[in-house]
């Protein structure tokens, strides 16, 4: 089962990379950009009997390794089928 994990800088902490990209977009003339956050996208192919089982495994992987809760937020999606 495929799980897509999105790790982004934690809400409210300094995200210099996102800020730099935001400034670059603005300098290119893109208006209406209220914020940019740059993170990581991780694709997991897991052996799991159900979506619930895959979710539980992904959550533990995120908590223990894939994200650092002090500086990052994560969310994930289980791909159907």
């Amino acid at each position: 089962m495929r799980v897509k994990v999105f790790v982004t800088p934690r809400q409210g902490i300094l995200d210099p990379q996102g800020r730099a990209v935001e400034h670059a977009l603005k300098s290119l003339g893109f208006g209406g950009v209220d914020g940019v956050h740059v993170g990581r996208y991780i694709v997991l192919d897991l052996q799991a009997a159900s979506a619930d089982e895959a979710c539980e495994a992904a959550r533990r992987m995120c908590d223990e390794l894939l994200a650092n809760p002090l500086i990052e937020d994560y969310r994930f999606e289980v791909e159907p089928g």
Partner: protein, 229 residues
């Protein structure tokens, strides 16, 4: 005393640290491999600078799972002295042996320069050879040295004296411009609550003999030698 310096795949400053300890300070120092489980009877274990495991995922995140880190964690829990320099500091934070986290420099640039640090607490095994408020000139070389911790934790650390080194200007004063990477409260080095684990972004081993442009780094190593006795 006996020192142990750990080499992870991607460590860079392990040999420089061994050189400082052996050749400059005349200490007994052994090299430890990341797959070792024994710390070889070392009284102080140093996790050196570099790019362990290519800094994959996050700096220090993978090294934390090396076999030797289980022994290092056990050693620290028993009160053994552990010091992490630069990447070693990042590993200690990822391993939860030190509070906080290190992330991308505010400028997004890799910074390689000599900075001024103020000793904030000389009553620890890592700083006892220095005076309160003493200024040390040490080099930094890192892309991810911005120290972060939750505000309430920072407050507790300050009250408890766990901030050992802070980035300051040449006059010893804190300022925005003297904080090279944007660290919270200009923090450059912190200890755990028991003061037996210490992490710092600057490199004492690269300021340990006149040829390198300064010897202020010896203060840190000498402190440890004095405290082991």
């Amino acid at each position: 005393m006996k020192w142990g310096v750990v080499t992870f795949p991607g460590s860079l400053d392990d040999r420089d640290t061994l050189h400082t300890l052996r050749e400059v300070m005349g200490q007994e120092a052994i090299s430890l491999w990341h797959k070792d489980e024994s710390l070889g009877g070392a009284h102080c274990v140093v996790l050196p600078g570099g790019f362990s495991y290519g800094d994959y995922l996050r700096c220090g995140a993978i090294a934390r799972f090396s076999p030797i880190m289980r022994s290092v964690a056990r050693f620290a829990a028993e009160g053994g002295l552990v010091m992490g320099i630069c990447n070693g500091f990042q590993i200690l934070c990822e391993a939860h042996l030190l509070p906080g986290a290190l992330t991308r420099n505010r400028s997004l640039s890799f910074i390689c320069e000599r900075v001024t640090l103020r000793v904030e607490n000389p009553h620890t095994p890592f700083t006892r050879a220095a005076r309160q408020g003493e200024l040390l000139r040490l080099p930094i070389k890192h892309g991810e040295g911005l120290y972060l911790a939750p505000e309430d934790e920072l407050r507790q650390m300050e009250e408890h004296g766990q901030v050992l080194l802070r980035y300051v200007g040449a006059d010893g004063a804190q300022s925005e411009t003297a904080n090279p990477n944007g660290s919270s409260r200009a923090i450059a080095g912190v200890a755990n609550q028991r003061f037996n684990v210490f992490g710092l972004m600057p490199h004492p081993e690269h300021a340990a003999e006149p040829l390198l442009g300064g010897e202020d780094g010896l203060r840190i190593f000498q402190s440890i030698v004095e405290s082991v006795g």
